[in-house]
């Protein structure tokens, strides 16, 4: 069990900066994030995009901002549980929250701050009605063990790097590989595109462009997909596996079932106090929350986190006096390490 003063769900910019503000109050923080690296959407979606509205930085790349935040919180030595998503929350007999991840890691803290941004990144699922019936029975969105495709008939959908890379890899080991894509050009690395084209020419990959999979059929397990082409023709391909690789999209996920008041996929908080939710001891900060006049901006997340940690301090150390000091007066954060 990981014990901490403040448990932060989401290691995006808001969660990271909250560690700094908590650190100034000598609080220990631990962060959970479903992604394998900190930074949230800044690292996952747009690391190379410039941001222009961070006070004091006329321009800064998203990835660079995350690097700077990591540097800024280093003295406070926060803990990280990465690549795991928070699934359940309970309260123990001492009034502390126990948050457990999908991999079973348990965390204990007097306060929980949800800084989940857009939510948990999950694979995009094609809108095919009976698709659910075949999930993990031939339909897989994430390739965990490529060996299961050895000597099997595999259909891959998508036009990005992951579709191209897996097509190249599986062409070697699978009995048959088909790649289906909406248009004729691909957005992946040029080198991968060339390889796939060469494999198609050599007859090792069945490349079908200007088309998409619209139907899946099978009994217990998947046994075929039906491809609809833009010209109106259809064809059914016998297969053991279909890998729809359409990237990741964020959803609120299990946090949506924690009994919090939710409005339009966001957690309702009290912005006149400390961004508390309807459950005492649980706060929501950054893009994940909503209140009248809410702006989804990184700088607003920084502010919300700063206000929130003052209350979290009182919950972690009810007998200690909270004294607010400017970092300029403290002469840096060295004394707090």
């Amino acid at each position: 069990m990981i014990q901490t003063d403040l448990l932060i769900i989401g290691a995006g910019p808001t969660g990271l900066f909250s560690v700094f503000e908590a650190g100034l109050l000598k609080m220990k923080c631990h962060l959970i994030d479903s992604l394998p690296q900190p930074g949230g959407q800044l690292t996952e979606i747009y690391p190379k995009k410039p941001i222009y509205d961070i006070p004091g930085f006329p321009i800064i790349n998203a990835g660079e901002l995350v690097d700077n935040l990591m540097e800024q919180i280093k003295p406070f030595n926060p803990g990280f549980t990465l690549g795991e998503s928070a699934v359940t929350i309970d309260k123990d007999e001492h009034g502390q929250f126990i948050v457990t991840t999908d991999k079973g890691t348990a965390h204990r803290a007097p306060s929980v701050a949800i800084a989940g941004g857009l939510g948990v990144f999950t694979p995009r699922r094609p809108p095919i009605e009976n698709l659910k019936d075949f999930e993990q029975k031939g339909v897989e969105y994430i390739i965990k063990d490529p060996d299961i495709y050895k000597d099997k008939k595999v259909v891959i959908s998508g036009g990005g790097d992951s579709a191209l890379d897996w097509t190249i890899y599986l062409a070697e080991i699978a009995e048959e590989v088909s790649l289906i894509h909406r248009r004729t050009s691909f957005r992946g690395h040029l080198d991968s595109v060339d390889k796939v084209m060469a494999l198609a020419q050599a007859g090792k990959v069945n490349l079908i462009t200007n088309a998409e999979v619209k139907e899946v059929t099978g009994n217990e397990c998947l046994n075929s997909v039906t491809v609809h082409a833009k010209d109106g023709t259809t064809q059914t391909i016998k297969c053991d596996h279909w890998l729809p690789l359409f990237g990741l999209t964020p959803t609120l996920g299990p946090i949506g079932d924690w009994g919090l008041t939710i409005e339009k996929n966001s957690i309702v908080v009290d912005n006149s106090s400390d961004y508390r939710t309807n459950i005492e001891g649980i706060y929501a900060i950054g893009d994940v929350n909503t209140y009248p006049g809410k702006l989804k901006l990184i700088l607003c997340g920084f502010h919300e986190g700063t206000i929130m940690v003052q209350s979290a301090f009182k919950r972690a150390y009810p007998d200690k006096k909270l004294s607010f000091k400017y970092t300029t007066v403290m002469g840096g954060v060295g004394s707090l390490e």
């Binding site: 998409e212 359409f246 964020p250």
Partner: protein, 108 residues
């Protein structure tokens, strides 16, 4: 001074909405829809990275060609048709007077 333009948006229930959009504020169609509280999420904030503003262009207006980023995102979207575009990549200007679009179905 730039004039406002009139655009028609058909929501996912088939209901028509007449919107008035300014052309001098560098607004895109996603932002205009959001300002009228139409059900367009605009999750990524207009960076062509989420497809939550996916729509179909119903009128014959000549639009800017989709960028590679927009095409890439449409590759990951569903219900994509020949007239599919991302609303966040369509910027309001006077030549779009009378533009008519339908919001694409949401996936998930």
């Amino acid at each position: 001074m730039s004039a406002d333009i009139n655009i028609t948006v058909i929501d996912r229930e088939g209901q028509q909405h007449q919107l008035i959009a300014p052309t001098d504020m560098n607004m895109n169609l996603m932002e205009v829809c959001k300002s009228y509280e139409l059900p367009v999420k605009g999750t990524c904030g207009g960076m062509a990275m989420c497809a939550s503003c996916h729509c179909y262009i119903d009128s014959n207006h000549l639009l800017n060609e989709p960028s590679e980023d927009e095409e890439d995102m449409l590759d990951q979207a569903f219900f994509v048709e020949n007239n599919s575009r991302l609303g966040c990549q369509i910027f309001m200007s006077s030549h779009l007077e009378g533009l008519k679009v339908t919001l694409a179905p949401e996936s998930d």
